[in-house]
């Protein structure tokens, strides 16, 4: 079990800065997900924690101990690559026990450790089987077994489910999380899939261009994104952005939009420019005949429980998530209302969310 601390970590490859000055702590037992598009620096950060890459500057602490310049093998961390790599000529038990055999552990000890790992993964019945005959899911479980059998202080995983098809991916992500709930080992998990991050993480770090834009619990990141990048990257469909001219002062409780006052959560700071961006999640948009914000229905996408309705307005397309029983006709004119206590206002110049009364109630910073 371990706490991982990253301090002012920076990595440059010649002129290209992959990771800029990151600082964060992964608490003991946390499932921590690094989320971002390709090239954002998430894998480089993970590889530095693993010891596969040396930082240009900064420190990495494992349980308070500086391991920045320690070799990967001396860090007691298990790095899980794409999970498929198994030894085809060995059976399941031999595959799982292999890392222990390399450490010259006694045979009886290996047997009991393998049995315990297999039990955690619920694959005891497969121990004697050849790996070549296993289903995709079972192969993943065996590969995981090989990672947990060493009982490392922490697990690092780089898109371990990336190669799987959608359905298996969903099943395995649930199983991985279940496994984490059973063994509670500190885990740092890298993905570009926001839904995977949201559903698996205790905490998420959202990265872009080598910078950690926000760290928080999944629901807080979703409800109170720190930047427009985070708001756009997390959520499907993403947050609607409505650009408007105006300023916001501390304690302001509305913004002007198309001649109407739109109530927003009381602001706690002043904006830096003449442009604001109103951020509205699709499920916080509703139809209201009384509203002065008008638009034309562009299309409706039925999803079973809900539907996504796209409305063309003078300020661009706005997407609303409505119950699927709401009748919607393409081409009709509708008024749009926003759930005022869930709105986020961004400073148009910086793209950063302005602090509001909502931030005071947040569970995590």
């Amino acid at each position: 079990m371990a706490e991982i601390r990253v301090e002012n970590l920076r990595k440059a490859f010649h002129d290209f800065v992959a990771v800029q000055d990151s600082t964060f702590t992964v608490d003991d037992g946390t499932f921590f997900v690094m989320l971002g598009p390709s090239g954002c620096g998430k894998t480089t950060t993970l590889r530095m924690i693993a010891g596969l890459e040396l930082p240009t500057s900064g420190r990495i602490l494992l349980d308070g101990e500086d391991v920045t310049f320690r070799r990967a093998a001396e860090r007691d961390i298990a790095f899980v690559f794409q999970l498929f790599a198994l030894y085809p000529h060995m059976n399941v038990a031999e595959n799982i026990g292999f890392p222990l055999k390399c450490e010259a552990m006694a045979r009886s000890e290996i047997r009991s450790q393998v049995a315990e790992a297999a039990k955690l993964l619920r694959i005891e019945h497969l121990l004697k089987r050849k790996v070549s005959n296993l289903s995709g899911g079972d192969r993943q479980r065996v590969a995981l077994g090989r990672a947990i059998v060493r009982r490392p202080k922490a697990f690092l995983m780089d898109e371990p489910l990336g190669a799987l098809d959608a359905e298996l991916r969903r099943d395995m992500s649930e199983e991985l999380r279940d496994l984490h709930d059973r063994i509670r080992a500190t885990t740092v998990y890298v993905t570009h899939d926001q839904l995977e991050a949201m559903s698996m993480a205790d905490r998420i770090a959202v990265m872009n261009h080598g910078v950690v834009e926000q760290i928080g619990a999944p629901q807080d990141i979703y409800d109170l994104p720190a930047t427009m990048f985070v708001a756009d990257f997390v959520g499907s469909p993403p947050m609607n952005f409505i650009r408007l001219q105006g300023r916001l002062q501390p304690n302001d409780i509305s913004v002007r939009l198309d001649g109407a006052n739109v109530a927003v959560p009381a602001s706690r700071e002043a904006s830096s420019s003449e442009e604001l961006v109103l951020g509205v999640r699709p499920e916080h948009v509703s139809f209201s005949d009384a509203s002065r914000i008008r638009g034309r229905v562009f299309g409706a996408e039925y999803l079973g429980t809900t539907q996504i309705v796209t409305v063309d307005t003078e300020r661009g397309q706005i997407k609303a998530r409505l119950p699927s029983f709401t009748q919607v006709r393409p081409g009709e004119t509708v008024g749009l209302a926003f759930k005022s206590d869930a709105l986020v206002v961004f400073d148009g110049a910086t793209g950063r969310a302005m602090r509001s009364v909502l931030h005071e109630g947040a569970r995590h910073g």
Binding site: Q219, G235, R281
Partner: protein, 339 residues
């Protein structure tokens, strides 16, 4: 645009019956989606309509005319493949104009120009008409590939997973665009996919296909709300429909029902109130909703809940079924007398 009809069409490849006794009517202006996993026979069906395969049995007619024995060129269909294949040495304009310049068509250049510009406008690639096809992003290339089918006015457009090679965001955008263009043109489309979101969001009607057999045809709402069979019920919806053995909920199921199908809409989470009790196993955050995993008598039920509703692992909750679906031992739907 025209009606297209398949009547009792069959096709086998060696030992494999790819398409079995399949009948389907597509009306002019309809967007019909065939939904099924790899190997279900959906692409073969599309190729049969295109004339790229000959059926072993049955007939295919377009606009009332039997075309079963006709070659592809005589059928007046346009095909969009999964992988876009553009002419790399031609501009976007010339790629789009290519089908119209076929010697057999003899369209005047002014007409070609007009149609290409119209379609480019629809697909929002007007600004790129002079670009080389190779200088486009993946999404733009796929739009050009779709556009090359759309410049023609065939009886029917046949599309084989045209969005599957695109990333999630672009796919979502193009889904909406393609549907709008189809409505604007009044085009008849037969579209094949394994993605239930594409099927639900674009189709006028969905045909669920399995092992070469058409299991059910209906509007997305009909298929979602009123599946004829257990397999069809599992094809649409996220989270997937929960299937509970009927004997685990005494008194809930009618005679003959072996399985209860429970979608999110069919499950109410209440305070424990003397009825069935479940235990929250895990709460998954998706942002707009939570997926709540609930243990009930050895089964795990997954349902949606408001993200700010306080539910935590270990908590006991009451479960109430609200008009769930019932299926018999063969997976056929068991309807209540009132339905």
């Amino acid at each position: 645009m025209a009606d297209v009809a398949l009547q009792r069409v069959g096709k086998r490849f060696g030992d494999v019956e790819a398409v079995r006794d399949l009948s389907l009517d597509i009306k002019a202006g309809e967007f019909v989606v065939l939904l099924g996993p790899t190997g279900a026979g959906k692409t073969t069906t599309l190729r049969l309509v295109a004339g790229l395969e000959r059926p072993d049995s049955g007939t295919i007619s377009i606009d009332g005319r039997d075309v079963t024995r006709e070659p592809p060129a005589a059928r007046n269909v346009a095909f969009v493949f999964q992988q876009y294949s553009l002419y790399p040495h031609l501009s976007v304009f010339d790629n789009l104009a290519f089908p119209l310049r076929a010697p057999s068509r003899r369209l005047p250049e002014a007409e070609i120009n007009k149609r290409v510009r119209e379609i480019a406008e629809l697909l929002r690639i007007s600004g790129k008409l002079d670009n080389r096809a190779t200088r486009l992003s993946g999404g733009e290339m796929q739009r050009v590939a779709i556009g090359r089918a759309l410049v023609r006015r065939p009886a029917i457009y046949l599309m084989d997973e045209p969005l599957s090679s695109l990333d999630a965001k672009l796919r979502a955008d193009l889904r909406l665009e393609l549907k709008r263009i189809q409505l604007d043109l009044g085009a008849t489309v037969l579209y094949v996919t394994h993605d239930h979101i594409e099927a639900m969001t674009m189709a006028s009607r969905i045909g669920v296909i399995r092992d070469g057999r058409l299991m059910q045809v209906g509007s997305p709402r009909e298929i979602y709300e009123s599946p004829n069979d257990l397999y069809v019920a599992t094809r649409l919806g996220s989270p997937q429909i929960n299937l509970i053995p009927a004997d685990l909920v005494p008194g809930a199921a009618p005679r003959g029902a072996k399985t209860i199908g429970v979608r999110t809409e069919h499950l109410e989470i209440t305070k424990p109130n003397g009825g069935p009790i479940g235990k929250v196993h895990r709460v998954e955050h998706l942002g707009d909703q939570n997926h709540v995993h609930i243990e009930y008598r050895g089964q795990t039920l997954v349902t949606l809940a408001d993200p700010h509703r306080p539910l935590s692992p270990g908590q006991e909750v009451g479960l109430a079924l609200v008009e769930p679906l019932f299926f018999d031992a063969e997976g056929r739907r068991v309807r209540l007398a009132a339905e």
